[in-house]
């Protein structure tokens, strides 16, 4: 019985770490820049396929793909920021939402053209190996994916907390006018911030691909997960995003243990509606302008 409980907890925490990085990019971009990126999960999906292609073509381990995803998606995020977001930032928010919605559809369907709607998995040499600790079975992939996620969260936290650029990003989120007064080039730093958010999305895609099967047209599910983490954890705070991710992971692993798999989704959706209702004050205050 105890081992059963322990393995549910371990499972939930490891999954939760991955969910935390899935929500992290969405939370930072929303909290600092006030942009609700509805295309977030499309980038998560691209991250999964980066891992898939690197493994299939070159036999590259997903751990390497995780590290590679960060610069690749950082640059991708900056490009998207420059091409799409700078153009709609001064316009009505509906235009921005429509543009990002179009981008999501575009990426999803380019993904479908490239990889069809077949469900894919990424298998590494250690896919079927597990670590057994006192009767609790910990699959290597989950340990590695969870560990990578924790490292990324720690890295982002340290970046925002201890570097001057990170502090400038936080300052920009708190008072963009004052940030300009001290000489911060808002457009440039926002591009960096958005790039960071997309980098997290891409890396999250790699971590998810290690654990779950995936296909281009199911990416919106991860948007639901990411959003759940964001509204549970609040905006723009790395530490609370981590806590929220673990909470979602635990809820899922407990539910999976006691009910059919599909029902778990419904529980999480209901949770989403409830938290949204309860937390609305905090959410409306933080969003100054939204895309």
């Amino acid at each position: 019985m105890l081992t059963h409980v322990l393995s549910i907890v371990a499972d939930g925490v490891l999954l939760g770490l991955i969910y935390a990085i899935t929500g992290l990019g969405l939370s930072l971009v929303l909290g600092v820049m006030g942009i609700v990126n509805v295309a977030h999960s499309a980038f998560v999906m691209l991250g999964s396929f980066l891992a898939f292609e690197l493994f299939r073509r070159f036999g590259v381990d997903p751990v390497v793909a995780f590290v590679l995803a960060l610069p690749v998606f950082f640059v991708l995020g900056i490009v998207v920021y420059r091409v799409v977001i700078t153009r709609v930032q001064s316009a009505a928010q509906t235009q921005g939402l429509v543009a990002m919605f179009g981008l999501m559809v575009l990426i999803e369907n380019l993904g479908t053209i490239a990889w069809t709607t077949d469900t894919r998995v990424v298998t590494a040499s250690y896919t079927n190996a597990s670590l057994v600790l006192g009767g609790v079975v910990l699959p290597h992939v989950r340990l590695i994916a969870g560990g990578l996620a924790l490292l990324l969260i720690g890295g982002v936290w340290a970046f925002l907390r201890f570097t001057l650029t990170g502090r400038a990003i936080r300052a920009m989120g708190q008072n963009p006018e004052a940030a300009r007064i001290v000489g911060v080039d808002i457009a440039r730093l926002s591009a960096v911030m958005f790039g960071l958010g997309i980098a997290c999305a891409g890396a999250a895609g790699v971590a998810l691909a290690m654990v779950f099967p995936f296909s281009p047209n199911t990416q919106v599910v991860w948007l639901a997960w990411a959003f759940l983490v964001v509204i549970l954890g609040g905006l723009g705070s790395v530490a609370s995003t981590l806590a929220a991710g673990i909470a979602v992971g635990l809820i899922q692993s407990v539910c999976t243990a006691v009910m059919p798999f599909d029902t778990v989704y419904l529980v999480l959706y209901v949770l989403l509606a409830v938290i949204l209702t309860v937390r609305r004050e905090g959410l409306s205050r933080a969003v100054r302008r939204t895309i």
Binding site: A92, Q93, T94, L97, L223, A224, F227, Y269, L283, V287
Partner: protein, 339 residues
């Protein structure tokens, strides 16, 4: 914010306005005549689908176009409507033509359930939740016994020849399209319309001047969902078989957004222009490319419109009309007092 006040209420001269109404009425008369005397099944069926999408897009236009609250998952409410008439037929043998209003009510209730938590927040949250909630409802339809899961529900074909069926739905959807377009026109020219535009342009200011923003959004969203539910309910009869994947297909949500954005969200004419463009182009493309390529093309068009052509076709038209009007600067130069 200022743009609200800068749009002249009556554009163009009186004769031009009359001519525009004449064109719309002639078009309507022509379509009615084709419905009565047309014999090509394919054309009748395609046009019936165009009308169906006009209704859906007009419904979307109310909250999305005028109010700026984008529903990226309209199919949720459409599908709930379809399942309502499907289930009522399955267990009570009631014709969807009778139960379509109930389908609308069921969809409106679902709309309230989603709208009440999300519409207190700003538009992006509503957009995001509507986008992801389709999945949850689809799972429900798969899991519940009443919906018969992946098996779906069969409705009997109407005891009519295929062309008569198409003719029937042609007029049903044409009638609804006229009705709903009239509703949207009326809303555009009413206080609700002004309240919605105020919400879209500057919600804080709208609240300050006394618009009960949250209640307006709830009510208009319920109307939008009601219409989508009615259309879904009738659609169930039209295709005579509903199952979770097809009935809650993301494509329907996507099409509605495409049509509104391309035609012009926030104009009553927008869906009338957008729906035929999207469907006819999609039909033409279908022969040569896969549906993915089709969506790639349309999503790029939507991004380009959002970035460079706000308001779609109608946005261009209204800017062109305004350019022909005397400008406020000219009025100031002519010695009139500046505001």
């Amino acid at each position: 914010m200022f743009s609200v006040f800068l749009i002249p209420k009556a554009t163009g001269s009186r004769t031009a306005a009359l001519a525009a109404w004449g064109v719309w009425l002639a078009l309507l008369a022509g379509l009615a005549a084709y419905g009565l005397f047309g014999t090509r099944l394919f054309v009748l069926s395609t046009l019936a689908t165009v009308f169906m999408y006009v209704v859906l897009t007009q419904a979307w236009n109310l909250l999305g176009g005028y109010g700026g609250y984008l529903n990226f998952g309209l199919v949720t409410f459409f599908g709930i409507g379809a399942y309502t008439t499907g289930i009522l037929f399955q267990y009570h043998e009631l014709s969807p033509f009778l139960t379509a209003p109930l389908a609308g009510v069921a969809a409106a209730i679902a709309g309230l359930a989603i709208g009440i938590p999300t519409l207190r927040l700003r538009g992006a949250y509503f957009a995001l939740v509507t986008m992801i909630v389709t999945f949850a409802v689809q799972i429900l339809a798969l899991d519940l016994t009443i919906t018969q899961g992946a098996l779906g529900i069969y409705l009997p074909a109407l005891p009519l020849k295929p062309i008569a069926v198409e003719r029937l739905f042609y007029f049903v959807f044409l009638g609804l399209a006229v009705l709903v377009t009239a509703l949207v026109w009326a809303v555009e020219h009413s206080n609700i319309g002004w309240a919605l535009v105020a919400i879209r342009e500057d919600e804080d200011a709208a609240e300050i001047v006394g618009v009960r923003t949250v209640e307006v959004k709830w009510a208009v969203n319920a109307v939008t969902c009601f219409i989508a539910g009615v259309v879904g309910g009738l659609y169930a009869q039209r295709i005579a078989y509903i199952e979770p994947t097809g009935t809650f297909a993301f494509d329907i949500s996507l099409n509605v957004v495409l049509m509104a954005v391309i035609g012009g969200a926030g104009f009553w004419q927008g869906p009338l222009i957008g729906a035929p463009i999207v469907l006819l182009v999609a039909d033409m493309l279908r022969v040569t490319v896969t549906s993915e390529v089709n969506r790639v093309i349309f999503s790029m068009i939507v991004i380009l419109i959002a970035l460079f052509v706000p308001g779609g076709v109608m946005g261009v038209v209204s800017r062109w009309r305004r350019a022909r009007q005397p400008k406020p600067e000219d009025a100031a130069a002519s010695g009139l007092p500046a505001p």
